[in-house]
Symmetry: C2
Subunit: 605 residues, 2 copies
């Protein structure tokens, strides 16, 4: 059988006659792009022949490669069928990579490679002269010098080797055998990435050999029964070891269910999952690991650890392959967690050339600002107003929620989720309504309803025992906006805007220096950028045209860290490189906050 050796790492595969170099690459576990699936149509699987006799180029190769390329020894891996031993090189352009496409269409690319590789090899028989042990013979076939093995794989190895005429499929990571199957078996190799939010846990199952997302799942974070926000969760955990264990079990149980659900969807089992990565805010990350979070609730806000923690699945009560590793995305501080580090990774930190303001808006608003040179980050206590909580007619983004509003022909135009009758306001609808009322003068700069306003919507103001309120809709029920609701929104948007302003000033940036403003999170990604600017959620002076929504960057970054060791290392770097600022210690924060509570004066609009 001709042997194909892949330079420079020397991985090799023996291929049956008639098989292509592309098939040899799959067999050898060498990552190689083949957009058309190896049908000789796309030309992406270019390789360079370094030595060995090769058959002449096929018609497909002649049409997809130019004469200079052919003269230089370039060939298409899917078309070249070796007849003799070959040494080839896979140029960087042909190496498979993991691309995470963000909501705004931009993408950040990392080289694909979680470190696990599936190899299909023929293992030599032992002889009386050379009674080489099973593991060592497999290691020679796979090209591992000093082999180690998971107990389960080692226990299965003798029967697998003897069941299949010495042909085996082996899964290895870092020279350690993780699993073996007889013959050219299917050996699914999955990874799972989780974004643990205070409210929702989102999971994705990824085929680690291709970086493809093959299933997703979501759960309400079951810790909600022990408190809605991170403070109440910390309080609960502080009651004792049993309560901490309970919170760990709750979130681990949800993740475990999702692992089972997602793998079942692909006719696989949790035992086929070899890598798990978890991103969450600092409290969620602590609770997932079973670490007491309560010191983060009091000055000086010290986490147990901010580094990525790697444990076995059973250490955190998860069911996956016993060979699996569970890893957390590292934290930047007690308040800038793994979700934000993952987000910073997903939007391109620390490789960004231009100054960028990145805001992930959930219960808290976390802010990162900087470029490849340096970046600072902080968490602002935005409160739950943007999630529709604490607002008199507030609701989450479910059917009946007013998601967007605008002024059209002097009237209020409402978008209602699922085209239902308006039942309340979710975060984006709240922001749009207030933006319209600020623009039309129904709300003044200080946030008070102006009953004397002559704007087109002023007639919808009505007096109640608690003061003025604005009637947004009144179909099946009245949806109103109260003076108190506006105050809640002012506190939320003021905290974020002040945080961004203080951070920018901390590293000497003005709003006009920003090339990109990225809004992430379920709310951040659906907000109307113009409304965000008009209510002063963003620091004054930012051009709405530079504002883009980037979706769930925590999930995107977690998936990247799962599929790419380069991304994983980058996340570790980001967590240490970003400078976390505790806003309450910044002398100008309170003043900026007070100012940012105001609405922008008409002149700046």
């Amino acid at each position: 059988m001709p042997r194909v050796t892949f330079a420079p790492d020397g991985t090799a595969a023996d291929v049956d006659p008639g098989k292509s170099v592309h098939q040899a690459a799959m067999q050898a576990g060498v990552s190689l792009v083949a957009s058309c699936g190896g049908k000789g149509r796309c030309g992406t699987c270019r390789i360079e022949v370094l030595s060995g006799d090769v058959p002449p180029p096929t018609a497909a190769e002649k049409s997809l490669l130019d004469d200079d390329e052919l003269a230089a020894g370039m060939r298409l891996a899917c078309e070249l069928r070796p007849t003799a031993d070959l040494e080839v090189r896979v140029p960087p352009s042909s190496r498979a990579s993991f691309t995470e496409i963000l909501a705004h269409g931009e993408c950040v690319t990392f080289p694909l490679g979680a470190g696990v590789s599936v190899r299909r090899v023929s293992v030599d028989e032992p002889t009386l002269e050379h009674p080489v042990p099973d593991l060592q013979r497999l290691a020679v076939a796979v090209g591992i010098e000093d082999p180690a093995a998971e107990p389960g794989a080692l226990r299965a190895l003798p029967a697998v080797l003897r069941a299949s005429g010495r042909r085996v499929t082996a899964l290895a990571r870092d020279g350690r055998l993780l699993a073996v199957r007889p013959g050219d078996a299917a050996l699914p190799v999955f990874g799972a990435a989780f974004d643990i939010g205070t409210t929702t846990v989102a999971g994705a199952l990824i085929d680690l050999t291709s970086g493809t997302c093959v299933a997703t799942a979501n759960r309400t974070n079951p810790q909600q029964t022990r408190g809605d926000d991170v403070i109440s969760r910390m309080d609960h955990a502080a009651k004792g070891a049993e309560q901490l264990h309970e919170l760990q079990s709750l979130v681990a149980g949800a993740i475990d269910e999702m692992l089972a659900e997602m793998s079942a969807e692909r006719n696989a089992s949790p035992g086929d999952i070899y890598e798990i990565i978890v991103a969450g805010n600092s409290v969620m990350t602590h609770l997932f690991l079973g670490l007491p979070p309560q010191a983060m609730a009091v000055v000086p806000f010290a986490p147990v650890t901010t580094r990525a923690v790697e444990v076995a699945p059973r250490d955190v009560s998860l069911n996956a392959s016993p060979a699996a590793r569970v890893r957390t995305v590292p934290l930047a501080s007690a308040y800038v967690g793994g979700d934000i580090v993952a987000g910073a990774l997903a939007v391109g930190f620390p490789g960004l050339e231009d100054e960028t303001l990145f805001i992930d808006i959930g219960t808290n608003g976390e802010v990162v600002v900087g470029s490849g040179e340096r970046a600072v980050c902080a968490a602002t206590a935005a409160g739950p107003a943007f999630e529709g909580a604490g607002i008199s007619c507030g609701m989450r983004a479910v059917p009946g929620a007013i998601t967007h509003a605008s002024l059209r022909n002097g009237g209020l135009q409402l978008d209602v989720m699922a085209d239902a009758a308006p039942a309340g306001l979710c975060g984006t609808g709240l922001v749009d309504i207030v933006a319209v009322l600020v623009r039309t003068g129904v709300i003044d700069e200080t946030g008070l309803f102006d009953a004397s306003s002559d704007g087109p919507l002023a007639s919808r103001l009505r007096e109640t025992d608690d003061g003025l309120e604005f009637v947004v809709a009144s179909e099946e029920c009245d949806v109103v906006l109260t003076q108190r609701d506006i105050r809640e929104l002012q506190l939320a948007k003021g905290a974020i805007a002040a945080g961004a302003t203080v951070l920018m000033s901390n590293i000497g940036l003005a709003p006009s220096d920003l090339s990109h403003v990225m809004l992430a999170g379920a709310f951040g990604s659906t907000i109307d950028p113009a409304s965000a600017v008009d209510i002063g959620l963003l620091p004054r002076g930012i051009d709405p045209k530079r504002v883009v929504a980037v979706g769930n960057t925590a999930a995107a970054g977690a998936r990247a860290a799962l599929c790419s060791r380069v991304a994983r290392d980058q996340a570790d770097h980001i967590a240490r490189w970003m400078r976390a600022v505790e806003l309450s210690t910044q002398p100008d924060f309170q003043m900026q906050f007070a100012e940012a509570m105001m609405f922008p004066p008409p002149a700046t609009r």
Copy 2:
């Protein structure tokens, strides 16, 4: 508090005023000899002061160090009490080491160091300006750059740090935190070494900080209920996964009991055990790991793996610290196991300058021959005669067993265990009796009783229905030696002698080239070397004066590998470096075996 920094690795400790550098070394986990326990009497704890102001030498230092040494900055660590920051160096001669004293009084020394270190440190408080996480602050205090931690240690850390005024005792290995306790707590750090024999499992509990054996335990290998020898154990395991699991559980259960028993003896728990090492023959090692051993029973005798295997305690159903590692001593082949590799380590391979023949005699007789240049090894099928099995009046070495015999004043002088009435022959007694009868001509060169012999003991021969037998003793019962017993012994000693001869010829050595002949194992260590030579257990031409008993080298080597990483690496090296020879493939083995069955002719005696 003055800080003492130990060059060259930079480990440091802050010491309270009045404390010595010796105490600082203990606090910092720096290995330092102090034979007198730090009382200024022995002078073994010499250190060199590299920088810093020091008080003048004490009277003890002046008496134990000469003027040149004092001028060169040498001091005694137990006498020097720092008043200011110091940098000191511990010369190799003062570094603690692990010495395994063998039965014959020689010893092989390895640098002490299992890689675990206990440190007592003060951890800085976090501040609002620098809210450094708990783990990172501890890492700074201990001097670890990129800290990781066992989940259990990480979960305990916040409470420990906050319970003890920031003073903690930490146990780390390779930059990974394994355990923490509040204050200057006792933190026992034990390791356990096991020698799994086919018949007996022997364990030792070792204090890893000093290399001292603090408890021992023994158990009959409970696998005996599933067969007496390795062949029957392999047969049982081959029946199915359930039977293999049963054999694994049996030996793991015995080891688990011994871990509990030995740690209880030191008022500790199995959770205080952080390293476990297991040496056994190849079949015992496979069964302990749950690996199917049966391929070693048939040509070409291929093990699953010969490398050292490292697993977590729970992977092999043991209870120890979750941070513990269980490691096997590597094998040389299917028939030269971890017990022999450990033995070779204990007697000084591969550092031996002189040509050495090392024989470990149990059910099999394993033979290693060579020096630092090269060595070959093989197992010979000695059979159980040396353990008293298969011999008509054979018994194990228990009270009543005739352990030694000699000719004195024309009569047979017997040593009987526990001074009881003679009840039977154990291996050494059997060898001595036969040696006496060969010397006196009652047994001829071919092994037949010579009824015509006129030797002093010939009168004790008597005729039975099955032929002649020799009456060894007849107090409470008759203890006899039959013609068949002699044949069993001839087979056993012939196999060992032939194996040794073939191996020696394989690397071009003659008996006269050997400087040392070492006999190991319960039988090998108690046999009379002169008898061994006279019956031809050893190849002809070996000087009995060069034969020494070296005791249980498997246990000694396992303890060394437990306490010293250098020894552990050495064992890995030995397993690959020794060339295993399959005797049945050696063309001259059958002829040598036939010849070695004979007893030496009178001329060579």
